[in-house]
């Protein structure tokens, strides 16, 4: 009888502690992986909404600088002292004030090392709605959807043009325009009025702990888009 009892007892095979732990571990890993995937996809959707807005704002920056160049062409007189690449003489027709501005014109000259600007709205000056202000900070945009007389995303307070920093209380969007005079190769290296400018527009936003609030654009592509274009003085070149 004793032997039989012992035999039955030993044949009672259950799960060991190790097996139970491994099973629990696998289950936890599986569930946490799927939860992580779901939360990642949710975050990706909010990201795409921000990207739509950021792309519109970046495009606006590029268009504004292009518009300033066009206005400089249209509001200034043509001169005949520009560099002629073929004859290597300064006798070509062009609009020499296309970058430097002047009366009722825009200064979009930038610098060879690049200058950072804030794109503001100058309410006081009816002839120049957009205004570039050289700035090292306060790139934030305020949101005004109740009375969008000057648009939704306003840099700072109108008409002070002082700008605002990117904070957690405003749109959390920042926009910075960089203009770099690029004269590294011919013909852009040859003469003063034949430069080309590289316009870069950075738009970035804060998003929880992933992208903390910052008044300067992040280095990577996370919560950050960048549009670049080259502007040249192509209008009315002739001998």
């Amino acid at each position: 009888m004793k032997n039989i009892f012992l035999k039955t007892k030993t044949s009672q095979s259950g799960q060991t502690l190790i097996e139970t732990l491994v099973a629990a571990f696998v289950l936890v890993m599986g569930i946490s992986a799927s939860i992580g995937l779901a939360s990642y996809s949710l975050r990706a959707t909010t990201l795409s909404t921000k990207q739509i807005i950021a792309m519109g704002l970046a495009r606006e920056g590029v268009e504004a600088v292009k518009n300033m160049r066009d206005t400089n062409w249209l509001r200034s007189a043509m001169t005949t002292n520009c560099f002629n690449y073929f004859t290597q003489a300064s006798n070509a027709s062009c609009y020499q004030n296309w970058l430097s501005g002047g009366t009722a014109l825009y200064n979009i000259a930038g610098a060879t090392t690049g200058t950072n600007y804030r794109l503001g709205i100058d309410q006081a000056q009816a002839t120049a709605y957009w205004k570039l202000t050289s700035a090292t900070n306060n790139y934030g945009l305020n949101l005004n959807t109740t009375n969008p007389t000057y648009g939704f995303y306003i840099p700072g307070t109108i008409p002070t043009l002082s700008g605002t920093s990117v904070t957690a209380s405003n749109t959390k969007f920042g926009r910075r325009i960089t203009i770099l005079q690029d004269g590294t190769f011919a013909p852009f290296s040859s003469a003063t009025y034949l430069r080309r400018v590289k316009v870069s527009v950075d738009v970035w936003w804060a998003d929880g702990t992933r992208c903390p609030v910052s008044d300067t654009p992040p280095t990577g592509s996370k919560c950050h888009i960048k549009l670049e274009t080259y502007l040249t003085n192509w209008k009315n070149y002739e001998l």
Partner: protein, 202 residues
């Protein structure tokens, strides 16, 4: 004896085992159900965002094409687009003179009884076209603006207040995109500069 031997081979589950197993099963299934609901919601939001991205891109590109190919018109073009509209701080119209000589008028149009609005394009011949061709995307009418700079005709040297300024249009609108019971509101703003260079030099 026989029955006792038979009974001893009858291994069943105890009540405790069944209760524990059921508890684990219920917890697992409810966790999966919650996860499933979450994935469904995420999927709906992904669809909304994809729809929003497509519709907004379409909206911007249609306007950009007309603004770049044509010329911003400062006179009266149809019933909605009147002279002097651009000077109003709440302007919601834009008139374009195309290269073919047609006059286009962009203005808001009510598309449902709930007061939902879309942008429409009317030619002088009366053809009507919806700029947003989507049944589930609307513009919040109070927030929509066409901000046109300069406000008055830059194409004339005499009479114009701001001659020689390249016109630029800023579009501000709150778009509402719906999918099922969910909706997302996107405050969108962008600007488009004209590509016409026939403004007389000063």
């Amino acid at each position: 004896m026989n029955s006792r031997t038979y009974k001893s081979h009858n291994f069943g589950f105890t009540l405790i085992e069944i209760i524990v197993a059921t508890t684990i099963f219920v917890i697992t299934v409810s966790a999966i159900l919650v996860l499933f609901g979450f994935v469904l919601r995420t999927n709906r939001e992904v669809q909304i965002n994809r729809k929003a991205a497509q519709s907004i891109r379409n909206f911007t590109e249609v306007l950009a094409r007309e603004i770049r190919n044509g010329k911003i018109y400062y006179g009266t073009a149809g019933t909605d687009c009147a002279t002097g509209n651009y000077s109003q701080s709440t302007n919601q119209t834009l008139a374009i003179l195309t290269v073919d000589g047609d006059l286009l008028c962009f203005s808001l149009r009510t598309v449902s009884s709930q007061g939902q609005m879309n942008l429409q394009k009317i030619t002088t011949t009366g053809t009507l076209e919806e700029v947003i061709n989507s049944s589930s995307m609307y513009i919040k009418p109070g927030t929509f603006r066409f901000i046109i700079q300069p406000e008055t005709d830059p194409y004339t040297q005499s009479g114009g207040l701001y001659p020689g300024i390249q016109p630029m249009v800023t579009i501000a609108a709150e778009f509402v995109v719906e999918e099922g019971n969910s909706s997302v509101t996107i405050p969108y703003q962008t600007s488009i500069s004209s590509d016409v260079y026939d403004i007389p030099n000063l």
